[in-house]
């Protein structure tokens, strides 16, 4: 659990971010836009980072292909939503809103399937060799990238299909806010709570937390830890693909998504404290907000790179104060 020093650090970071955001904005509405954008990015980050963090805690595997699942999710959702492409759902689901649900489900299914194959087919023989796994998952991310280029070419797709939720806005303080972003933020928060409850309350959650401490002993109690590994890994990949799918209407689908989100998610996991679920949730929100504030600050200045280096800056700052991360065990 987080000690007092961590809570103070979190409060200071939030205060600093809000301070800068407030100084940047001309109106409460402006401030609100930055806040919503930050939460939106934070939730997308959480969807990549949660799998990364839980898998690392339980299995000691840093899955460098986690970002690829996000990218593949974005492509599958894009493809399924728009006419043409590999999956064409336009005739089956002519209503674009329903089709989007179909597209997200397709992305989740592909993510889960690819995650299952990676764990069962490639990772499983290498559980006693952490370095090999690192190299392997890195290799898989390269292969995934080439496959995506082969199937969908290197040209980035921007989302053109208009559907209800994606296009609707609501007004507050004289500003127009995207309902879709709010919707993703709401879903992200629901997922944070749901996964948290699963970890705290369910039998599988008890097994996961016990496995983080001592895998051998869990096994010696008669529990098939390998099967739990497969389940957790598959779920982690499915959630990352889900993240890519819900991000696509805003970010489109492009080959750079994987690496961008992998790096940011690694920053989140280390900053939150390796293997701590609460740390990952809090870290995602902090990094998401920091990126949004940096984007706002960088507009019209020479510091165009500020948003992309912000996660690492924040990470360094936190590690200077808490070397094991915000919620990490020292």
């Amino acid at each position: 659990m987080a000690g007092r020093a961590s809570l103070i650090a979190i409060a200071l970071i939030l205060a600093a971010l809000f301070g800068v955001a407030f100084a940047n904005s001309s109106s409460p509405g402006d401030f609100g836009i930055t806040l919503l954008s930050g939460l939106f990015q934070g939730m997308l980050l959480f969807l990549v980072a949660s799998g990364l963090s839980i898998v690392f805690g339980l299995m000691d595997v840093l899955n460098l292909a986690q970002g690829s699942y996000f990218m593949v999710g974005a492509y599958v959702a894009y493809d399924a939503q728009h006419a043409g492409g590999v999956i064409d759902l336009t005739s089956v689901l002519p209503d674009p809103n329903l089709r989007f649900i179909g597209a997200v489900l397709a992305a989740i299914a592909v993510g889960a399937l690819l995650g299952y194959l990676l764990e069962r087919g490639l990772l499983r023989p290498l559980y006693s060799r952490p370095i090999f796994q690192l190299v392997l998952t890195f290799g898989v991310s390269l292969v995934a990238l080439e496959l995506v280029k082969f199937i969908w070419t290197t040209t980035p797709y921007s989302w053109t299909e208009l559907f209800g939720v994606r296009e609707s806005f609501f007004e507050l303080f004289g500003q127009r806010f995207s309902t879709y972003r709010l919707f993703v933020v709401g879903m992200g928060i629901a997922l944070i709570v749901a996964i948290g409850l699963l970890l705290q309350r369910s039998r599988i959650g008890i097994i996961i937390r016990a496995g983080v401490e001592d895998r051998e002993m869990v096994q010696a109690l008669g529990i098939n830890v390998r099967a739990v590994f497969t389940l957790v890994f598959t779920l982690g990949c499915a959630i990352a693909a889900f993240g890519g799918a819900v991000a696509a209407p805003f970010l489109g689908a492009s080959t750079t998504l994987g690496n961008i989100f992998l790096l940011q998610a690694i920053a989140v996991v280390v900053l939150g404290g390796m293997g701590s679920y609460s740390g990952t949730a809090v870290g995602s929100v902090l990094v998401g907000l920091a990126i949004a504030v940096a984007q706002d600050t960088a507009i019209g200045t020479a510091f165009a790179a500020l948003p992309s280096i912000t996660p690492m800056l924040l990470l360094v700052l936190v590690l200077l104060v808490r070397p094991s991360g915000l919620f990490g065990k020292s």
Binding site: R209, A210, D214, Q219, A220, L221, G222
Partner: protein, 234 residues
């Protein structure tokens, strides 16, 4: 007398190290057998070989007449073997209740056994919601033993339960193990010779990865030369 566990001439490697070079152990159904031997003799590795955490490369292990060597740990445990590792390896971040629930093999195991467990270890009842890491050493050891009693186990492998505990706690543990041995067979590793001789009916001595002597505890107690030679206690 029938034996619930028959370990015959097992050889176990850890990495490239040949740790067990021929260990045989027999546990009588309904009895307590103690594994004796100096530090580093291979007692823990013997227990870990039986439960499948360090699977033996050669030799055979029969539980209830059926061969179990080569199976995965969780399959071996599910046959009805409970493992209580050394150093009180309970889950520190899990509550006492969660530690016990985790050990269930069928849902409702804990509820069925709760009365028996709390009768044996009354302390655990009031500590039930505390994280395992907050318990004292003795309480953690009791939790580790209790955990092995949640499912229907027919054999318990208990590794140095008295290590580092105060005498009064050791007495409690002895009493508990004595009581539960009316329901399950036990293979016990115990350095404290007084505790071992109080509890066990038979013994096996392990020395440098070999089982070198075995027999009735009552005979060993008389055999000062054997004790001196392998255990270094008089």
């Amino acid at each position: 007398m029938s034996s619930i566990l028959e370990v015959r001439d097992i050889h176990t490697f850890i990495g490239q190290f040949h740790i067990l070079e021929g260990v045989s152990v027999s546990v009588t159904t309904g009895g307590i057998t103690v594994l004796l031997g100096r530090n580093g003799a291979g007692k823990t590795t013997t227990l870990r070989s039986i439960i499948g955490l360090t699977p033996p490369a050669r030799g055979s292990i029969h539980f209830d007449g059926k061969p179990i060597q080569g199976r995965q740990s969780h399959n071996i445990a599910q046959l009805g073997i409970g493992y209580v590792p050394e150093h009180r390896a309970i889950f520190r971040s899990l509550s006492v209740r969660e530690n016990l629930q985790l050990a269930e093999r069928r849902s409702g195991d804990f509820a069925r056994k709760a009365d028996f467990i709390f009768d044996l270890f009354p302390d655990l009842k009031r500590l039930i919601e505390l994280p395992g890491g907050n318990l004292s050493g003795g309480q953690q050891q009791m939790l580790a033993v209790a955990r092995a009693l949640v499912p229907e186990n027919r054999l318990l492998l208990i590794d140095e339960p008295s290590e580092g505990l105060a005498p009064v706690i050791i007495e409690q543990l002895i009493a508990a193990i004595q009581r539960l041995s009316s329901q399950v067979s036990v293979l016990l590793v115990e350095q404290n010779f007084r505790v071992a001789s109080k509890l066990a009916q038979s013994y096996v001595i392990i020395d440098e990865g070999h089982s070198v002597a075995a027999g009735a505890m009552a005979d060993l107690v008389q055999d000062k030369a054997l004790i001196q030679r392998y255990l270094g206690v008089a």
